[in-house]
Symmetry: C2
Subunit: 387 residues, 2 copies
């Protein structure tokens, strides 16, 4: 098929912006054919663009030969442009249809589509990923991308307002951040390099000058773990602040999360309803449970965690049922946390490290860093690491 070119056509409206009060107005729309229904003398084309859908109505009687020919050629997922007039009608859910004066076919598609993007006929994840371009047209997937976009932007706004500077640190690094177990290796011009698992060492150097920094971007962990919480590659939001302690960071985080929930609620009503998900804006401060309290709560549920051990995933699930939203776990035994977390002044067996939890999932971990070189060396030795 000879395709049309865009030429001087440009979109005047998204589908959802066409309203009954625009009756008679000429509009130019672009999108993809979602459905064609042929009722003999009349043909309905549902055009989908990123904001929604609209009906194009082609009647045999009132259409030009060109429009009829084009509309007959249309198949699902063809990419098209439509120039036509808005018609107020009671026959469509939104009260409008477009009577086309001209149709452009910009690209075609195979007749037998590998997946049904309306989701009426569900497909396996594998099939969906093999046809990802189509799968991305599902309303749920579009909603996920939009919510992510809004959420990450809300995080940035929040941190900007508090004087944080966004930085970009290297991903190809010469040595591990914290021990080399979970690193991917890269062939860097015949030398062995690694993919960064976090910006930690860089942001620590940066706060000695910029004081408050953060980075949003992909990091890499070669953990051979098939859970939905362990990704080889993930987008992390990493924050570092000078002249602050764990409590400052916890306050920052709870306010940050509250702000993100509020913003997503305000800006993503349509997307949340597509996803059938309700975001509850949490109150601050979040609950703060000490490690000891967590152990006591688990004991009441019949589970014994020896003091000083990390809490295994099945027990985090138990905990998540007791605390079904956001909360912190604080006052961890220092051996459960990294060597650089500051021991507590009043009890050096504990440390100023925390986990921010969402139900049973660890969202963030953080803590006050040790500032004393001597203590850092001591703690490295204690962990069997080479200072």
């Amino acid at each position: 098929m000879k395709l049309d070119t865009l030429g001087d056509w440009r979109r005047t409206h998204y589908s959802v912006d066409v309203k009954p009060e625009m009756d008679g107005e000429e509009v130019t729309l672009f999108g993809w054919v979602q459905e064609v229904r042929d009722l003999g003398g009349i043909r309905f084309i549902i055009l989908q663009d990123r904001e929604g859908t609209i009906q194009i109505t082609v009647s045999q009687k009132n259409s030009s030969k060109e429009v009829l020919a084009k509309s007959e050629a249309l198949q699902k997922r063809y990419s098209i442009g439509v120039k036509g007039n808005v018609n107020k009608t009671t026959m469509t859910p939104r009260g409008v249809e477009i009577i086309p004066k001209e149709i452009k076919i910009l690209s075609t598609a195979t007749i037998q589509l590998p997946i049904d993007i309306t989701g009426k006929t569900p497909a396996s994840l594998e099939t969906r990923l093999d046809a990802r371009a189509l799968d991305l047209c599902r309303e749920e997937n579009k909603a996920i991308f939009k919510v992510q976009h809004v959420a990450v932007n809300a995080i940035r706004d929040f941190l900007f307002e508090r004087g944080f500077i966004e930085v970009h640190t290297p991903r190809i690094i010469a040595s591990a951040t914290e021990g080399g177990a979970a690193l991917f290796s890269v062939n860097y011009f015949d030398k062995k390099a690694f993919l960064a698992q976090s910006p930690q060492l860089y942001k620590e150097q940066l706060v000695m000058s910029l004081e408050r920094v953060f980075e949003v971007g992909p990091f890499f962990r070669a953990e051979e773990s098939h859970t939905r919480r362990h990704l080889s590659e993930f987008v992390s939001i990493d924050i570092e602040q000078a002249f602050a302690d764990a409590e400052d960071v916890m306050q920052l985080l709870e306010q940050l999360i509250q702000h993100v929930c509020k913003t997503v609620n305000e800006k993503c009503q349509k997307e949340l309803s597509t996803l059938k998900y309700k975001v509850e804006v949490p109150e601050v401060p979040f609950k703060r449970l000490t490690y000891e309290e967590v152990l006591r709560e688990l004991k009441k549920k019949g589970a014994d965690v020896p003091w000083g051990e990390d809490i295994p995933t099945p027990l985090l699930r138990t905990l998540g049922k007791l605390h079904p939203y956001f909360y912190f776990i604080t006052d961890w035994p220092r051996q459960t946390k990294a060597f650089y977390i500051q021991p507590k002044e009043d009890n050096p067996e504990l440390c100023e490290g925390f986990d921010l939890m969402w139900r049973w999932i660890e969202l963030v971990s953080g803590g006050t860093r040790i500032a004393s070189k001597e203590l850092l060396i001591e703690r490295l030795r204690e962990k069997g690491l080479n200072p």
Copy 2:
């Protein structure tokens, strides 16, 4: 030395926010010792924080034993907190000094620093990178990070306003985007994978649903090239738009650059003056030179580029002198551009690809993409690639 802890001290002001009209007010400041000058009965400590510097004045006569002892221990780059009163004075450039009531030493530093961060004694790049944490305290480096922060944020704002959605695409990929020459390989659980050189294939799939997307983040090119324009790892800003052609993208880009220059000028006056750099806000539209015109201009300068060849770097430098700011080069021969760039309708030897230049440097390249599968296959064959 026993270090102090932060305790309940929190910053009340940055150095530059302390003004003469605050005479007598108590403030808490944090930062690093930039300089100590001892004049016998009086000691001046210059405290640097991320926003600037301020003088702490310790007189033998009027200070407590504790303050005297701490102030005697101070060395360059010690990290300190100071609680004290603002004193209006004619003896300092900014008209204020701090009379300390209490000093905390939060961290120490070696006495012999590897570089002089005032820049009075210049150091080689290598020495500076070996002491990067210190090097980052140089005012010029802080300014660079802040300008970058403001510029990237201005780009996001600009694109958000025009309905672009920010996305995050994978970096570890199974095969090359456009031919495998310039890819880093990664050992991915004993399979060979690669680092993405651009988000191209992902954003192309995304625009079939989200229509306007962009990504800001690190990408990787294994080019063995020792120029300042070829980095193995770089932060790219990658934009993709549906239902648009090269001219739309050029207009978007010139407005984007104008907006960024304007914003940096507004928000980074201090940083630009530190860097001794003046940003000129360019007028739009930018100059558009066709490839043919460029060849003619170069010919006048005595340089012959055979039609259909790319323009070599030394000649781009010549061109940069003729056009010393932003401009586009358009109407490239189709063989100089990637297989997927749309040939021009009126002359298929040329294509709808462009380069956005800044002086002699290519800032962006882009173009209208081919929508027809048949034409894509034809062009792939022409380039000797396997469709």
